[in-house]
């Protein structure tokens, strides 16, 4: 076990200094990215290409009476205008449920739903043409609340948004019935232990704390908008260069929509400017291919920032009701919880998010009696799907708030209450699954406690405004500022769960080029900025002892690498690369007739000659099971990863402005393959969770997005993000390659709840909704609406 300090990770055990596993190997794409020379999807260019533009619905719910594309076609420079009638294959696609039309047919179910496509020789021409398409809409009343959509507690006539049955597609992750009726996408149930109320279950004196919590709709806010270039090929197929998270699942869906076999639809990864889950679903993929096939010309599509807010799914808004039952001395004996996730107009990955929110929904604690109901609902709000943390984030705000509320009710220190009930290796999860590797919840919290607290805030005329709530906007010189400290711990399931066949493919070749041994690693696993290309190089260097490792372009000419999500790529694609390297080594050893790799390594030029040794491996992590649809019991998960945060804030309680003074994070990563990249993930994940707690929300009113821009969808700046103290634990998981644990998501689970707890500590207000807005904090309770002022 090794600790890595925050700003300059130094102390991890280095297996070698040559860029192998455990070193801060430099990113192969790092220099290009920091100098602005890296080519992202939006930089794709061919001289004779056309520009594609999407016409989107202005209404969250409407029937399409007619579409007149004539005026658009009449505009000079326009090459094609397409509608749903022009989709040659299956109209509907989806990650788990094929419910989303490539282009709207007879109804639109959310604001921004694609209705028609235009290809023109100039993007401005395409935009002008799309504005000339006449769509006659019959505007319908939108369904905008998940509970109303399900008929929960608000009985009355219910509008079913998807009355026709649609197929559950093969990559579905669940055994439970999806879309059983009405607007219900999935209902996840856990029934563990005694199902009577807490006091009856425990048979003794019980303190019950109850809370209702709400989480707003967060956006991934990746920097590179959805972009791609579709090029018609001589064989009648199409080559698509696209920024995405999972080439092969895109390919499957595109093939169905185009009615073409996968040999004819070839995908290559374009430069990806961040993803965070927002690129799991199709965006412009099929659209650009349709336009390219129709016009016979390359077609580029690249969303602008506003369109991007309509072009990808968001994090599910959540409403949550929790009841925690504690004994007087602090044993958590029961949790009863209900979670409603607003899936928006189409399912996307909602079913899996529902599974996660429910199964991870009581936090990293041991609880004998659990009653959990988690629903995902269709509404006419923007579709929601994958985002870093994937359901675990929303639930953590509720269960960690409940732990603080319980601590207050019992008069127990909030950290001690968590420690008392913490999971550890060997604990039984709410699913009945045994936690069979390190679960260092107690150690993570104790290490946070051991860290020094930052110095007290300064005040007065010569104060450094950058350290104040409000920053350089000069709102306080110390007046009204109160300090608070908050704690939270969270956990996340790593890789795909609930019986999904989760695998990755790696092809590794060893040959002599220019007189030097060279390894080429070829996978279809998407580098989205997280550093997978670096990790692949490091693993190859460590396994083969060869320094020069080339990462081949990422495309569908090799088997699926699975999704770059669920913190799974270093584990699963890393595992595939490791195994492929080991097979290459075995093949070379067999050819050489020697027994030790060290003996062959110095002699590779002679052993290999002009021949390359290549091995392709399909690698799976250990299998998981579907959970029982009535009880939620089953070995649903591959691995759990844990992180904890201590957050210190200064709050200007008169203005409701927050300065996060410091975030401290402890996280177990099993093995830090690249310690610098690990700490980077912890910084970034913590920032994204903090953003949700403080400012990041897609504000939707009556189905309409009110802030589709970075002017009003605020993400933290460097003056909002504080310095971090980070300690990385390396407690190996014996089931995983190198003992590693997924890294990217856990810090996003616990940072937000710790920020919220710190604000509560500073203000004394029990805030129940994130993001916390200034008007929620201002102590004069009469300023929340004009009417009450």
């Amino acid at each position: 076990m090794t600790a890595v300090s925050g700003q300059a990770p130094t102390a991890t055990a280095r297996t070698r200094e040559d860029g192998g596993v455990g070193t801060d190997a430099a990113r192969p794409d790092g220099r290009l990215k920091v100098t602005g020379e890296f080519a992202y999807g939006s930089d794709l260019w061919m001289d004779d290409m056309l520009w594609g533009v999407t016409l989107r619905s202005p209404h969250p719910h409407a029937r399409i009476r007619s579409i007149d594309i004539g005026p658009a076609l009449a505009l000079p420079g326009v090459f094609a205008v397409l509608t749903a009638e022009d989709v040659p294959g299956e109209l509907r696609y989806g990650l788990e449920i094929a419910d989303q039309p490539v282009l709207a047919e007879d109804v639109v179910l959310y604001q921004g739903e694609p209705v028609a496509l235009v290809a023109a020789e100039h993007p401005e021409t395409a935009r002008r043409a799309s504005a000339r398409i006449v769509v006659d809409y019959e505007v319908l009343e939108p369904v905008t609340d998940a509970r109303t959509a399900l008929g929960h507690g608000n009985e009355g006539p219910r509008t079913d948004l998807h009355p026709e049955p649609t197929p559950v597609v093969e990559q579905s992750r669940e055994a439970a019935p999806l879309r059983p009726h009405g607007n219900l996408i999935r209902h996840l149930k856990i029934r563990k232990g005694d199902q009577r109320d807490a006091a009856a279950a425990a048979g003794k004196d019980i303190v019950v704390v109850t809370g209702d919590y709400e989480v707003g709709m967060q956006d991934q806010a990746f920097l590179g908008p959805e972009s791609g270039l579709a090029v018609p090929a001589e064989d009648g197929g199409v080559d698509l260069y696209v920024s995405t998270q999972w080439l092969h699942v895109d390919q499957q869906q595109i093939c169905r929509a185009l009615g073409m076999p996968k040999e004819k639809v070839r995908l290559t990864l374009a430069g990806v400017g961040g993803a965070f889950g927002g690129r799991e679903d199709l965006s412009m993929h099929v659209h650009a291919c349709l336009l390219a096939m129709r016009t016979g010309k390359p077609v580029k599509m690249s969303y602008n920032r506003e369109e991007s807010f309509f072009g990808h799914v968001h994090r599910h808004p959540a409403k949550m009701h929790y009841e925690h039952g504690f004994t007087r001395d602090g044993d958590l004996v029961s949790v009863r919880a209900r979670i409603w996730l607003d899936g928006g107009a189409y399912a996307s990955s909602s079913a899996a998010v529902v599974g996660n929110a429910g199964l991870m929904g009581i936090g990293p604690y041991v609880v004998p009696n659990v009653t959990m109901d988690c629903w995902g609902a269709y509404t006419n709000n923007p579709p929601c799907g994958a985002m870093r943390g994937f359901g675990a984030v929303q639930a953590a705000f509720a269960y960690e708030s409940q732990m603080d509320k319980g601590a207050a009710a019992l008069g127990i220190d909030p950290v001690e209450l968590r420690v008392r009930n913490a999971m550890e290796e060997g604990s039984i999860a709410p699913t009945g699954q045994v936690v069979d590797s390190a679960a260092p919840v107690v150690e993570l919290l104790r290490r946070l406690q051991a860290m020094p607290l930052p110095p007290a805030a300064s005040s007065g005329a010569d104060v450094d405004l950058r350290a104040m709530p409000g920053g350089v906007s000069n709102t306080t010189h110390g007046e009204g500022v109160r300090r608070g400290v908050g704690w939270a711990v969270g956990y996340k399931n790593i890789a795909f769960s609930e019986g999904f066949d989760d695998y990755s493919t790696a092809r590794v070749r060893l040959e002599i080029t220019g007189g030097e041994p060279t390894v080429t690693v070829h996978t279809a696993a998407a580098e989205v900025g997280q550093g997978l290309v670096t990790v692949q190089q490091q693993i190859a260097r460590t396994e083969l002892g060869v320094e020069r490792v080339v990462i081949a372009p990422t495309d569908t000419s090799v088997g699926s690498g699975g999704s770059t999500s669920a913190s799974r790529q270093t584990y699963v694609t890393g595992g595939a690369v490791q195994e492929a390297c080991r097979r290459v080594r075995a093949a070379v050893l067999a050819r050489s007739g020697r027994e030790l790799w060290e003996d062959v390594l110095g002699d590779l030029v002679a052993v290999l000659g002009d021949e390359a040794v290549e091995e392709t491996v399909v690698w799976r992590h250990r299998p998981t099971e579907a959970v029982d649809p009535e009880t939620g019991q089953g070995n649903a998960h591959v691995q759990y990863a844990f992180a904890a945060h201590r957050v210190v804030v200064d709050v200007d309680v008169e203005l409701g402005l927050v300065k996060v003074v410091e975030m401290a994070c402890t996280q177990d990563v099993g093995k830090a393959i690249n310690p610098q990249a690990v700490v980077g993930q912890i910084h970034g994940g913590s920032a994204q969770g903090m953003g949700l707690a403080l400012m990041e929300e897609v504000v939707v009113t009556d189905g309409i997005i009110r802030n589709p821009s970075f002017t009003d969808y605020l993400i933290p700046t460097i003056l909002d993000m504080p310095p971090m103290r980070v300690e990385v634990l390396e407690l190996p998981d014996p089931h995983a390659p190198y003992g590693l644990r997924g890294v990217g998501e856990p810090p996003t689970v616990s940072s937000g709840p710790a920020v919220l707890a710190a604000i509560r500590d500073a203000t004394g207000m029990f805030l129940t909704r994130v993001p916390v807005r200034p008007e929620h904090i201002t102590l004069s309770g009469d300023v929340r609406s004009e009417e009450r002022a």
Binding site: V472, L694, M695, T711, T717, D720, S780, R788
Partner: protein
């Protein structure tokens, strides 16, 4: 869309006169956002960055600072913090460092947004906007008469903004702005304050809490009345004055609920900002003795 790039001020005025649908552009930090979001497609742009005199500032013998319309916020911060401290403070809150290098005070006025960061201070110090047309020559519009509605101003279609005229500071000035982020944020509401000891006057103006930036006249009069005997003694601010001043500023606002904040919060925040900034300014005035 035509792109006109006059090399001199007379050429710029001529271009403006000949192209009534043209939009002047300097730093482009507002104009380009509108173009990129496809909100506006003007017939022509008049690029003012080649007109060198717009980037100059000077001080007249009577102490009036003439600030060329093309002086960037970054330069106001670094070059004018003594002569125009309030405007320098406001400039520091504009966008990001990159935006402050591009964006200009003239452009801020040209956009005439109720949330423009320069406006409250310009109102509080009693500045004037110098504008000019080829046909009628120059004129000075008091800032208090410049803003006519949401993103509309008294600028005629054939006029360009040449400069801002503001008195060199004779007392402490303050600017404070509330946003839901600690940097690079549009004002939820903002407040500018200027003490004019030689005139026994207090300037107070609010931003982003009414259809236009506006002066808080009752608050100004109240503060001047309370301070009338204190300018020379530099005595302590009497208890309750700052709070009452804050209430009067809040009362002057005409805010709305929008995605950035509620009307009630804006009013409340203004009362806090006004109370705090008056206290800071008066303390600075006393310390300067």
């Amino acid at each position: 869309m035509e792109f006109l790039a006059p090399g001199s001020w007379p050429d710029a005025l001529a271009a403006r006169a000949e192209n009534p649908g043209a939009v002047p552009i300097a730093g482009g930090t507002d104009v380009m956002v509108d173009l990129n979001f496809d909100r506006h497609r003007p017939d022509a742009l008049i690029d003012l960055t080649r007109v060198g005199e717009l980037r100059e500032w000077s001080v007249a013998e009577d102490g009036t600072v003439r600030l060329g319309a093309g002086v960037s916020f970054a330069r106001v911060m670094s070059e004018l913090s003594a002569l125009a401290p309030g405007l320098a403070m406001a400039s520091r809150t504009v966008g990001s460092p990159q935006i402050r290098v591009r964006g200009t005070v003239g452009g801020n006025l040209g956009s005439a947004s109720p949330a423009g960061d320069a406006h409250p201070v310009l109102l509080a110090v009693g500045a004037a906007v110098e504008v000019e047309s080829a046909a009628r020559g120059p004129r000075a519009i008091p800032v208090s008469e410049f803003f006519t509605g949401v993103k509309t101003s008294a600028l005629e279609p054939d006029e360009l903004i040449s400069a801002v005229l503001l008195p060199a500071a004779t007392g402490p000035q303050q600017f404070a702005k509330v946003g839901t982020r600690n940097a690079m944020v549009i004002a939820v509401t903002s407040f500018g304050l200027a003490l004019h000891p030689e005139q026994g006057r207090v300037g107070a103006a609010i931003g982003s809490a009414a259809p236009t930036p506006l002066s808080a006249v009752d608050a100004q009069d109240y503060a001047a009345g309370e301070l009338v005997d204190l300018w020379s003694s530099r005595g302590e601010l009497p208890g309750g004055v700052a709070a009452r001043f804050g209430e009067l500023v809040a009362a002057a606002a005409r805010p709305i609920d929008d995605v950035r904040g509620t009307a009630a919060y804006r009013r409340h925040a203004l009362s806090v900002l006004a109370r705090r900034t008056l206290t800071w300014a008066w303390d600075e005035y006393r310390r300067a003795a």
